[in-house]
Symmetry: C2
Subunit: 249 residues, 2 copies
């Protein structure tokens, strides 16, 4: 029995979710509502003490960290007919250079700009007292700082620096995708799944950086992934009613 | 044929080096001299365009990123009698949470304080013109910024923040090692190798944070790894003459 706790098909939550759909594994989806700070609720901290999604419960064992969950699915279901990890050791290493890069670099610059746009207004909608109450439930000190920065608005120099990194990241992806159909080589792998999780939607959110004229290969790659049956099924199935919070069973 | 390019048995270079010794794999060691900026030399950029060590050449294929190299050794030598990765999928995931954490968090705070102490003086020993000449050969923009910051001296608030993170990291390791002999569970794995790479020597460099009284379990774990035959052999074999730079073959 697999249960995925997530914010839905975007950012880090998308990684294991798309992997589950690609691998056609049955799973229960438990969507948490970030606007209600559900990830910091006591019931969820019993599942992941670090109070972060995604988390995967597999027969009572909880696996955390989006990329670790993705590799876990390859390890736990080795006979699955839809592998997302190559078999050749050198090819696996190429895949991991890309999954590591998105976790250590690409996701952070996109994340800060996303927090400025989305989390900032959400945090400012709270009174000081309400906001401080929410912070009490966050277990990671850096997360508390990030919430405070988002509420105050990140300094302009920080935003400029993050945008520089976004542009560098996009250029790196475009360069790679101009020479290879998929990031790690000839096959669609977790390198694509994990980078897609962050890059999907950038044609809208970062339209001046990611567009048909400036980054045709990146746009083509995003389109190819969006058109895969697994992605279509994932986006179609996660409907609004899923946002209704449910208690953990 | 395996050739490891490294700075020797410390920091990220230590990870694949200790793994090679633990697995008793024959390899040629090519030590680069950081004080001569050898990692930025053209001959080495042909091996790793990102101009970073460690890098592993395996029969002409180059694998980069220390943790990726470590996992590569497990994938490429599956029948090796000295595995550093568990076989159980859930145990592998626990191991990866720790190798990911050292790469994304623990290594950075220790690194900045190390740069302040070691790289700063090295950079200040150069004239402005010499320093700018060195920077021209660095391919990663963030590395250029880090060199400049190290030469100028990192701001006090940055150093204080990094020290806060070091203390938090040490507390996390101590807590974990008070409940488990090894980081990922009952077995010595890459979780230990990769965290040891950063934590080894902290009893000297961070004596007020890591010591017998404050962190007995961490100190005991460091000692246990240092006493392993592979670690003893590694530290004994890497002698001063290895620092003489050799041209890549």
């Amino acid at each position: 029995m697999l249960t995925l706790y997530s914010f839905g098909p975007g950012a880090n939550s998308l990684k294991p979710m798309l992997a589950l759909y690609e691998k056609q594994l049955d799973f229960k989806h438990h969507m948490l509502d970030p606007s209600k700070f559900e990830q910091h609720a006591d019931w969820f901290k019993k599942i992941n003490p670090r109070a972060q999604v995604p988390a995967l419960d597999h027969d009572g064992k909880v696996i955390t960290e989006s990329t670790v969950i993705c590799e876990y699915l390859e390890d736990a279901f080795p006979d699955n007919a839809h592998p997302l990890r190559p078999r050749d050791p050198f090819a696996i290493a190429q895949m991991r250079v890309w999954t590591k890069w998105v976790d250590e670099y690409f996701c952070w610059c996109v994340s800060t700009l996303g927090w400025e746009r989305v989390i900032g207004p959400m945090a400012r909608a709270l009174s000081d007292a309400e906001f401080e109450e929410k912070l009490k439930h966050i277990t990671i000190p850096e997360q508390v700082t990030k919430w405070r920065n988002a509420r105050a608005g990140f300094p302009k120099e920080v935003l400029a620096e993050e945008m520089r990194k976004v542009k560098l990241s996009v250029a790196r992806l475009e360069q790679r995708l101009s020479e290879s159909p998929w990031l790690a080589g000839p096959d669609y792998t977790l390198a694509d799944v994990c980078n897609f999780a962050i890059a999907n939607g950038m044609e809208r959110g970062f339209a001046d950086v990611v567009n048909e004229a400036a980054t045709p290969n990146l746009v083509g790659w995003l389109k190819r992934i969006n058109e895969r049956p697994a992605a279509r099924e994932m986006f179609a199935k996660v409907k609004r009613e899923d946002l209704t919070p449910r208690k953990a069973s």
